[in-house]
Every structure is written in structure tokens, then in C-alpha cells.
Symmetry: C2
Subunit: 214 residues, 2 copies
């Protein structure tokens, strides 16, 4: 049976491909795996049926033949382990790719999400400007370290992998912030990801939903 993933019925990003289902859709496109997308309203995310799939009531989830997974990076790793092309075959290179996959969601993404949360939840607070400057500095420090690692490399470690896919999806959450533009290697890296045909297909699929909603 083909897998199905869950996504927002009405994504707050209005089709910019910044929600966490994007990485999963992109990975499925990379490996050529047909799939269905179930779109859930915010009320449905908190309903018992979805909480049984995802204990934290978020998207995406992945379901196939009775297996239910959540956490976008875990789902991407699962897809990468079962299809060719998203993980190196050599054991040490594979372990390094998995390290970068964790780095994307555990080291690079948290300050980016924190910054988004401040913009969303604290924009009217008297402290907002001072905190936003702190958060921008924290994100910028991570980006500088990542840009230093990337240097002239095309991808994080050798060929394109699941780690690049998730890292690009994470960095895209900074779209419009101007923070990526400070680092030419990072802006070029994200652009390379966005130019992959599988990205283009996944992006178009989620954008079409947003346009129908609009």
C-alpha cells in the first residue's frame, strides 16, 4: 500500500513550503514513492484520532502497512533507509550523514523556531525588539558555523543526502529574514536544494493546496 502523510489543511505559511511536511514530501519525490496526503484542520490535529498517531499533535505523520511514524527527520531517515539515493552506502559516510540529520533538527533548527515563535507570540511585548536582536544573534552564530563548514562544498558531506534535504528545509524557515543572505555559501546551498526536480514537484503540490484555499 502507498504511504500517506499528514499536512495542514490550511498551512499558516500560505504555500511557501515552510511547514514540516515539506521535507517528507520532498524525500518521497526524491525516491519516486507515490503517496497520499491527508490534510488536517487545527481542530483535527488535537483530536484523539490524530493524537494516537502523533502524541504531540503536530504534522507530519507517516503511515504505511500499519506502521505509524512522526518527527519529519525520523520519517525522512526511514524513507532513506528503504530506498536508494538519500544515504551513502559506505558505513562511515552513512553515520556522518545521520549526524548531520540530527544537527539540522537538534542544533540548527531550535534557535530558528525560537525566533519565529518570538515574532508570532511576542511581537506586541515591550521587550520584543531587544529579544529579537538576541535571537537574531543566536541564529547568526549557528549560520556562521554552518557556512564555515560548507565553504566551497556543494553539500554537507559528499553527495546530496537526507541530511541536506532536512537542512535545506530547516534553513528555508528563514526565508524573508535576510539572515541567510549574510552567508553566500548558505544562500547558494539552499538555492541548490530548491532547484532539485523533486523539491520543485513537492513544492508545487503543497502550493496548489494553498492556492485552492485562497
Amino acid at each position: 500500500m502507498e504511504p500517506f502523510v499528514t499536512a495542514f489543511a490550511n498551512s499558516p505559511d500560505r504555500g511557501r513550503g515552510l511547514a514540516r511536511d515539506m521535507a517528507v514530501r520532498w524525500a518521497l519525490e526524491e525516491v519516486g514513492q507515490p503517496h497520499a496526503v491527508h490534510r488536517l484542520t487545527f481542530a483535527e490535529l488535537k483530536a484523539p484520532e490524530h493524537l494516537a498517531r502523533h502524541p504531540f499533535g503536530q504534522i507530519p505523520t507517516y503511515e504505511q502497512n500499519g506502521l505509524v511514524l512522526f518527527e519529519s527527520a525520523a520519517i525522512v531517515l526511514h524513507i532513506a533507509e528503504r530506498h536508494g539515493g538519500l544515504l551513502p552506502a559506505e558505513a562511515q559516510a552513512r553515520a556522518r550523514a545521520i549526524t548531520w540529520l540530527f544537527a539540522a533538527v537538534a542544533t540548527v533548527e531550535p534557535p530558528i523556531v525560537e525566533r519565529s515563535m518570538a515574532l508570532l507570540l511576542e511581537a506586541d511585548k515591550p521587550w520584543h525588539a531587544e529579544r529579537l536582536a538576541m535571537l537574531n544573534a543566536r541564529v547568526a552564530a549557528r549560520l556562521a558555523q554552518l557556512a564555515h563548514h560548507l565553504g566551497e562544498k556543494t553539500w554537507l558531506d559528499g553527495a546530496f543526502s537526507a541530511a541536506d534535504l532536512v537542512m535545506v528545509a530547516v534553513l528555508r524557515r528563514l526565508s524573508g529574514s535576510g539572515l541567510l543572505d549574510a552567508h553566500a555559501p548558505l544562500a547558494a546551498y539552499v538555492a541548490r536544494g530548491e532547484q532539485r526536480p523533486a523539491f520543485v514537484r513537492a513544492f508545487a503540490a503543497q502550493q496548489a493546496v494553498a492556492q485552492r484555499n485562497a
Copy 2:
């Protein structure tokens, strides 16, 4: 050759086992893998030699036979894949354990770290009390969801796994906050982790260093 991991020469937690090397040491004790620990000063963390191991200048790293890894959860997964006892053999249960491993560091840990950062960096700001209340509520929401999932279970999903090891290590960062005590299943879960002989050995090893430093 036996692996070596890096840890703080002088951990800011003064031996409470809250630094991120704890999960790696614990995993190595669970599988009975002898290892060396290289302790680094804060200056050494930012030196080129360590940045070549860890692009973000943090601990822990893991090195064996020329393979260098960072990200504690990635290292724990690497250890679990190469030894018995930390991942289910059955494919679907294994994929679910890896989902929980990502959930520990990508969903549960970020608000906990954000709260610690606020206590460390913003305690003297006029907004601290109001923000701390927001951060406590955010952590509490995650803990309630996790406690609901755990219920009467002993571990997250069947037998003890790498995911429980990392989740317990993440939840221990709330020691002394009182936030865990609101959820009896979570407090009992953490206590079960801390009672494992491998945890006790790893904890004693890092505590001995702190006591020599004191």
C-alpha cells in the same frame, strides 16, 4: 581501537550529569563498550582542532577508527546500531524507536533548553518573570503530552531503547525545576532510567571528575 568521547573539563552542572556527554557515556555503559573520555576546556572547544570534529564547537563528539561523529543522539543511535540491546530487532518497532529518539531532541528538548537559556542569560532582564512563566507553560504542555503517552507504560514503546536513554537524559535537565513532579508517570520514568546499572556507572564517572575539580 576503543572509541573516545569528548566532555567538558569543567562541566557547568558540577557533576549532576546534565551535560550532553552523559547520554553517550550511558549508552557505552549499556552495551559494555570501554571508552576514553577527553576533557576539553571552553577555550579548547572553540579551537580549530575541536571545530574540525564538531562544526558547532560543542560536546560530545565520538571518534573511532577515523570516524568522527557529533550530536549526542546521533552517537547514541550509532552505538545502538552496532551493539545489541538498545534497538528492537523488528523493523517497525525499530523505526518507532528512532522516531522517539528524534522526538527527544527535536520536540521535547528545545523548550527545555530555551528555559535554561532564559534562566542563564535573561535573569536580570525586566521581562524575565513574565517570559519564564511562558516558557514554563510551554515545557509543561510538552510534558503533559509525553506523560499522557507514557501512562502506565514502563518505557516509551516496549522494551528499553536508545530513545528512552536520550529522553531520560533530556528530562533530567529539568532536575530541580519542579516541572517533572507535576506528572507522576514522568517522574517515575526518569527514576527508572536513573536506576539502571549502566546509568549509575556513567553518572559516577562524570561525577568523579567534577569532585576532583571542586
